[in-house]
Amino acid sequence: MPLTPAELEILGLSFKVALASALASLPLALGLAFVLARLEFPGKMLLDGLVHLPLVLPPVVIGYLLLVALGRNAPLGAFLADHLGIVFAFRWTGAALASALMGLPLAVRAMRQAVEAVDRRLEAAAATLGAPPLAVFASVTLPLVMPGVLNGMLLAFARSLGEFGATITFVSNIPGETQTLPLAIYSLTQVPGGDAPAMRLCVLAILLSLAALMVSELLLRRARRRAQGA
């Protein structure tokens, strides 16, 4: 049974938001992964806790705080809108930002494990072959953590496809702009006769999530093989 144009729009928007949030969180997540895996500093536990907060905090809290900080009337939101032309409130970019925050802990965890798994003796070996630190990072460390980076992005992507609470609180439920798959299902369950189309979307959501998890597992296996090969 082919997808209807409305369903395709919902799916396309969900993918766009998920992709944008995964890409946007990549630099921050990778940076945090390196900091947490390799540096010792006072306050590390606090930073670790902050990164993990979205896992346990009610999503509506994140959404509300975003609204307070980045709404059109909030100082920061107004500044971004007036000077940089960036608007998050009630836009798909806001949905991407909300789900990026929600997915950050998953991405950081996956990448941090990959960074911790890198045998630092390989980096030392590269240095004795004349490679300066940046070249060691680019030619040894990064290729070795790459499966973990992809895995982290995939988890963030999958988390974004399922994000509901923070999104609806921050950017509301606007068809064609911020109405991603979970929000569309929610809307359909609120109207009479919405059960059948809601179920179609549920099946879609299950298939997508399953596919993402399976690809993630494949990446993990590949990473493990690579790490053992050393």
Partner: protein, 362 residues
Amino acid sequence: MKLEVAIGAQLGAFALDAQFAAEGGVTALFGRSGSGKTSVLNAIAGLLRPARGRIALDGEPLFDAQARVDLPAHRRRIGYVFQEGRLLPHLSVRQNLLYGRRFAGRSGEGELERVVSLLGLGALLERRSQDLSGGEKQRVAIGRALLAEPRLLLMDEPLAALDAPRKSEILYYVERLRDELGVPIVYVSHALDEVVRLADTLVVMSEGRVLESGAVGETMARMELRPFLGRFEGGAVIEARVAEHDLDMGLARLEFAGGTLYAPDVDALVGERLRVRIRARDVSLALARPESISMLNVLAGKVAALGEPSGASVDVQLDVAGTALIARVTRKSAAALRLAPGLPVYALIKSVAIDRHSVGWA
């Protein structure tokens, strides 16, 4: 090549305080595991920063605590062959070999071909590094270090993880590096037969300190007189030249400064120079030249010094026309023969005690 090392560091509960100098050829750092050999290599490579002291190569300081010099590892141009190979797992053998080339500012397949043929890597080039056997990994690691054009090559027990046939294969390649390329090598080992086969200079370490260092023959002779090294499979090392092969009897006649030595199973050609290790426990002493005896090697010399007695035995250092030899005899015999410095004696050595592991190319 001139390497000067004088460093100190506190590594947890372990105190490192090492001083030695080496010039060209192969320098062996010898000692039990945990004696600080690898820490010294890491300090030379720039992977470990000593607390004090100085490391210089050809007069150029690599590390100097007082002058605040600490050249980073990637600018030292010192190759390092690790115990476990440490090939980059995401790269092919060829990519591993060429890894250091771009940083050395060199390219060209000519050098690659030379190293590939020297180490017999031709069939491995397109393989993934994790699909190699232990011996193959070590050969690639050696080639990779060489292709980065190092001024000095460090090797940390490169044979430790290998079985006996692989060991002799890699040893053969290390000998070729020394003889054909003339790369100065600092070689860490706790296996005496490797040291004897390879080293020109010997540095003996124990508990973070250098006990003895110098030319391999003299150092081993001095080391023998130090009982705390325990039941050390030691002895003297002499340099000799193959004078003649007796093919019927399977014996080679070797000439050295102190006389003639018959040894079995020598596969060197007439005229080639060899290094022969003679274990102290294989040397007996007599006051008069014995007649009608099976031992082929009877060398005239005199007692140079007596070591500390250890249990029932005592090591006697001999001077055989300028060549140092060690004999391990019982204290009972030493008393009966009234061994004392200056006493003329004959050293008796069974030829069959000199086996393949005792002989290496000089």
